[in-house]
């Protein structure tokens, strides 16, 4: 097994990013009050916006920072932004507890809607963000000449 560096710098940016992301989440928790019926608006908004931003970042990373070893910035980008900021900003535990609280209060329909809705919309947000960001960042491929196409086809079946 090759010896591995300790990666202290990665852990450091994860910690800093995580703290900042959590602080933003806490601020929104304070600012956004739950609905009168108990719907956990703050966490719902936080988790879905976080999922959307992750979709954007994943595409940006693939296009702009394809090689994590290329530079220090490239190496620290995903740990800081994805693992740190977005991981600290979004939360699965609070989502679970809020579902539990709704169920305890007898609000079963709200609980199921919140639980299922968060998961489904979370996936939709990531997918939509990736779709839109790809369209923006990656140019439409140029039409290729007939001769080039024939050459490519020969390679495939050769």
């Amino acid at each position: 097994m090759p010896s591995r560096s300790r990666d202290y710098d990665l852990f450091a940016v994860v910690a800093v990013g995580g703290s900042l992301g959590a602080l933003v989440r806490y601020s929104l928790d304070v600012l956004i009050a739950p609905e009168r019926d108990g719907w956990p608006t703050a966490t719902f908004v936080i988790n879905l916006t976080g999922a959307f931003v992750l979709g954007v970042v994943l595409v940006v990373a693939r296009v702009k920072v394809p090689d994590p070893k290329a530079s220090t910035g490239a190496r620290l980008f995903r740990p800081f932004v994805v693992t740190g900021l977005l991981g600290g900003y979004t939360t699965f535990s609070t989502y679970v507890i809020e579902t539990h609280t709704l169920a305890l209060a007898g609000r079963w329909i709200l609980a199921v809607t919140y639980a299922v809705g968060s998961v489904v919309l979370g996936v939709v947000c990531v997918a939509a963000a990736m779709f839109v960001t790809t369209r923006i960042l990656e140019p439409v491929p140029e039409p290729i000449a007939v001769e080039e196409l024939a050459e490519l086809e020969a390679e495939d079946f050769g």
């Binding site: 806490y26 976080g50 991981g87 900003y89 609070t94 998961v119 996936v123």
Partner: protein
């Protein structure tokens, strides 16, 4: 939004996020990168811990006591909030659902939520009784 609360969030998250990162790296080294075992583990652990905290707070307050705000923010909003991730979870469900066998994504999502709820409610009940 007191200083104590903010400090609790910062310190707790400063521990929780690296714990998630370390668990991810360990899981990939142990099981390979194909399935998100690391995220699954931390999401369940965080749900259990937050369930315990919420139960303890409920128990203490039911008895007329007061659970320190700093501790709630340190352990709950900070540590559990940063230990767990919903964005990573969502992208993993999407990724696992892309393959021809959509069922893996659904299974992962269902298992995470159901197991998370089970652990959280068990921990809540236990710690509320004990507080």
């Amino acid at each position: 939004m007191t200083l104590a609360a903010v400090l609790g969030v910062l310190v707790g998250a400063g521990l929780g996020a690296p714990a998630r990162f370390a668990t991810d790296r360990w899981a990939i080294a142990r099981f390979g990168p194909r399935y998100p075992y690391g995220t699954f583990i931390v999401n369940l652990a965080g749900s259990a811990i937050l369930g315990a905290l919420t139960g303890a707070v409920a128990g203490v307050e039911a008895g007329g006591g007061h659970f320190p705000v700093f501790a709630q923010n340190l352990i709950g909003t900070g540590f559990c909030g940063a230990l767990t991730t919903f964005s990573g979870f969502s992208s993993q469900v999407l990724e696992l659902s892309r393959k021809p066998r959509r069922r893996v994504g659904t299974a992962y999502a269902s298992a995470s939520v159901v197991a998370g709820l089970f652990l959280a409610s068990a921990a809540f009940a236990l710690f509320r009784l004990a507080s």
